[in-house]
Subunit: 366 residues, 2 copies
């Protein structure tokens, strides 16, 4: 069965890096027989300019029907000109919620070849290999009531609501505990249970699911502020980290400093499996649209390419091919391939296209 | 006029490090004529054990009447045995709210002598000297509704509310902009305005106060996730950072990794000035009660001692004495004084007491 992959290049550097991820996936279709059919669809600012809507009906229908999305980036310098309602229609948050992709995987590893360009000492980060499971469809991002209200005295007050139900906590906890079993069997669950009742419930539910269904996994609880510190002090102590939507947003960027650039970081967002065991999935590099460097051909495509590796692993269910692609990225880096964001002063710098060429050359050579 | 300083050693390592901060302040009273009268008061677990309450009325009255509090830490391994209501009575959050100390200063600098023990490369952190102004009396920590509610289907849901009024944002923005003027004239305001309406209001109010009252200060806005990354990538780019209660909690710990140990970090929490221009103030090291090392005499007292320096600066209004104390800490570190948390493997390690002795010796020598 051929898998239907909807490609959404989007704004800013999105098209540049997505083109390279597609080119790499084409290699796996042609050379390794991975059954993917990729089709590009318009959305976001480009679509607003062309068609007066950030989310054409045709694109939304394709998104809802797809086996997976390969997403570039959304948000551009001229977003302010797009009415709020239209911005929401084409937003990442609407896609995440619409697809119910609650489990956001954000792997972070210290690439040995980048030890010199990392802001950290090698002794701090060498061997770091952790993965966030960030809850992606609830919490502060979606809670109501929300908005800006006018008080009795005429001044305003901003309100957002953080909520989690037991069911929302349980499903992401189960996912993270199951993932830990396939790795080093260690889960860190992160909350602010000392201050937030919703965090206390989070801790209680994770503890219960662990005891009932995954007692073989080592579970620790950690406060979110301490986790921010430990990610900088001792990132190698982590294996799988499960946390809520907002903490996951901050802490995964915190860990992103390990390589000195968000440009290296991929992500996958997965739904619950359907009756046939298939999960909907949204793959995207963690870096945003980076309007300041858009169109220059200098963005790092490795976040997008490593997102394609996650697609091979989770949607194509071809872990050996995913490993092959990750090894090719490692080989390209070891061979000295660097985009501007990961180069040391004086090191030769590759274009977006040339970096992808280096990865494809490594695939051919392997 | 003698300043009335209420000393609250509290739990865990609190008494050990607070004793040393008091000893250092005694030096300033005796040798530099700083007019402080320090009195110790019971609260927290120790008080629960002795008197059956975490917050004796006498202590609360002293807190509310004091010119400043010198606080150790709260929270111990046997906290769970204390009823929730009593834990709240003796809690840090109740003191922060009761004193209305909305402006939480958390300076972070890269101490040159600790360049080797920092998890970061020297080129990343050398020269870093930033200060958080964390809003401390509103936001997620205090918003209502909050709690765990039972839904129609019998399962539970955790709820916390994040709210800020214009007035709450304005006063902390004014404080931070004023502080920036006394430093390098640069303010970074941190929010998630792209996701949270309360963050959009935050941004709007900070922008308006800046334009109307502090146009000479350079103001930038930054998303909280990006700030987490930049604190690891390029901490030297920051001067003053203003943010809300929850983001401030995480981001200041993130920056804490710069020295590799929270043990180095002081804080001050200040109220609005009264009619005589006096602010209530709560000084505390950022590290917690650290029950695992309590009673061993090995905790780093520098967070508490540097909090005493903030007391000299903000409550005693003796900036030259504050500078003198910070220089003595720097001299002690430069002379090789290290507690366990900041020592490299093989380096000789000082006790809590001996570290304070090294600081006092540096004061005497200067
Ligand atoms: C673009 C933004 C809405 C998004 C988020 O906050 O989730 C981004 O920061 C991310 O982490 O994917
Ligand atoms: C102990 C805890 C309530 C506190 C907080 O979350 O504010 C601490 O982490 C801090 O940063 O002072």
């Amino acid at each position: 069965m051929t898998l239907d992959i909807v490609v959404l290049p989007g704004d800013g550097v999105g098209p540049e890096v997505t083109d390279e991820a597609v080119r790499v996936l084409d290699w796996f279709v042609a050379k390794r027989g991975v059954p993917l059919r990729m089709t590009r669809h318009l959305f976001g600012s480009a679509s607003w300019t062309a068609q007066g809507t950030t989310m054409p009906d045709e694109t939304w229908a394709a998104i809802m029907a797809a086996d997976a999305l390969l997403f570039g980036a959304v948000g551009s310098l001229d977003q302010k000109q797009i009415p709020a309602e239209e911005r929401r229609k084409g937003s990442l948050l609407r896609m995440r919620k619409g697809l119910d992709v609650f489990a956001n995987l954000r792997p972070v590893r210290a690439w040995p070849a980048l030890a010199e360009s990392s802001p950290f000492k090698a002794r701090t980060v060498a061997g770091a290999d952790l993965i966030f499971v960030r809850e992606l469809t609830a919490g502060m991002y979606f809670g109501t009531p929300r908005g800006i209200e006018t008080q009795a005295d005429g001044t305003r007050r901003g309100v957002n609501t953080h909520t989690y139900t037991e069911a929302e906590i349980a499903r992401v906890a189960r996912f993270a505990l199951g993932l830990a079993r396939t790795r080093r069997n260690h889960l860190t669950s992160v909350d602010k249970a000392n201050v937030m009742e919703a965090g206390a419930l989070w801790r209680e539910v994770v503890t219960a699911i662990h005891a009932a269904e995954f007692p073989d996994v080592t579970l620790e609880h950690m406060l979110a502020d301490n986790c921010a510190l430990q990610l900088g002090r001792a990132p190698t102590r982590f294996d799988v980290i499960v946390t809520d939507n907002l903490f996951g947003d901050l802490l995964s960027d915190c860990a992103g400093a390990i390589n000195g650039s968000l440009g290296m970081l991929p992500s996958a967002a997965l739904s619950a499996p359907d009756a046939n065991g298939r999960r909907r999935a949204l793959y995207e590099p963690i870096h945003g649209s980076a309007p300041d460097i858009a169109g220059k051909g200098i963005a790092n495509p490795l976040g997008a390419i490593l997102s394609a590796a996650l697609l091979l692993r989770w949607t194509a269910q071809a872990p050996a091919e995913a490993d092959r692609l990750e090894a090719a990225v490692e080989a390209a880096l070891a061979g000295g391939a660097r985009t501007a964001d990961i180069a040391l002063p004086g090191e030769p710098v590759l274009s977006t296209r040339a970096m992808a060429d280096a990865v494809i050359a490594a695939l051919d050579a392997a």
